[in-house]
């Protein structure tokens, strides 16, 4: 496959996420590049094989282009007048880092189910507060369950 198309395809997927908050379908990518649906599917699979995005292979649909999620999650990022879904607690911070913008993040703590709002402004985390009134302030943690060397063994779990 043409290398230029591969990287233009990656860039198109990310730009589409940034503009619309959702991944482009195979049909949309085919139309954008003037290629067939089969060629666009091959492009997606090539990007998947290179870990540039993660496909739901049954549907040939983009599940993740980290930090963006193609499906709803517990990590909502409000930025640039839009609401994005992040794949995980790391990626909720990854979206304002990637877009280099301010953001308000609504997230849910695992197990305790506390709801939290974070604000990113001017390249800094300026606040985090629980939005359920019974919770008191605490130092939030992000847990990385498995070492880097095994992240790509099961990306959905990671």
């Amino acid at each position: 496959m043409d290398e230029s198309l591969v990287w233009q395809g990656r860039h198109f997927v990310y730009s589409h996420f940034a503009e619309t908050t959702r991944p482009p379908s195979v049909d949309e990518t085919a139309a954008h590049f003037g290629i067939s649906k089969e060629e666009a599917s091959k492009l997606y699979k090539e990007l998947h094989n290179r870990h540039a995005l993660f496909l739901d292979l049954d549907k040939v649909a983009i599940r993740m282009a980290n930090p963006f999620s193609g499906i709803p999650t517990d990590f909502k990022v409000h930025a640039n007048g839009k609401t994005y879904f992040a794949n995980c607690a790391w990626d909720m911070l990854g979206i304002p880092a990637a877009l280099q913008c301010d953001a308000v993040i609504d997230a849910v703590c695992t197990e305790s189910n506390d709801t939290v709002r974070l604000e990113i402004k001017g390249g800094q985390i300026i606040s985090h507060q629980f939005t359920n009134p019974q919770s008191t302030s605490t130092q939030l943690l992000i847990h990385f369950p498995i070492p880097f060397a095994r992240w790509y063994d099961d990306l959905v779990f990671t």
Binding site: A52, A89, W90, G94, A97, V108, E111, I125, L141, I142
Partner: protein, 70 residues
């Protein structure tokens, strides 16, 4: 990677999923890592990273334990 309100809740999750505890980072640590990891993700010129580049990102983020070995 999941968000927790305290270490105790991490342990509850690990026990329920029959997993050892991994690494716990503060929001600030993950924010610094995010800027290094995702800062150029929207660029047409971003073509992924070599293992050496991944190791350098972790080093710059101060993540030096065996957990972060590439």
């Amino acid at each position: 990677m999941l968000l927790f309100r305290s270490e105790e809740w991490v342990d509850v999750w690990c026990k329920r999923n029959k997993l050892e505890r991994g690494e716990m980072l503060s929001l600030q640590q993950v924010w610094e890592l995010s800027k290094l990891w995702y800062g150029n993700r929207m660029s047409l010129d971003y073509h992924g990273r070599s293992m050496e580049q991944v190791a350098e990102v972790f080093r710059q983020a101060g993540l030096m334990s065996k957990f972060w070995y590439v």
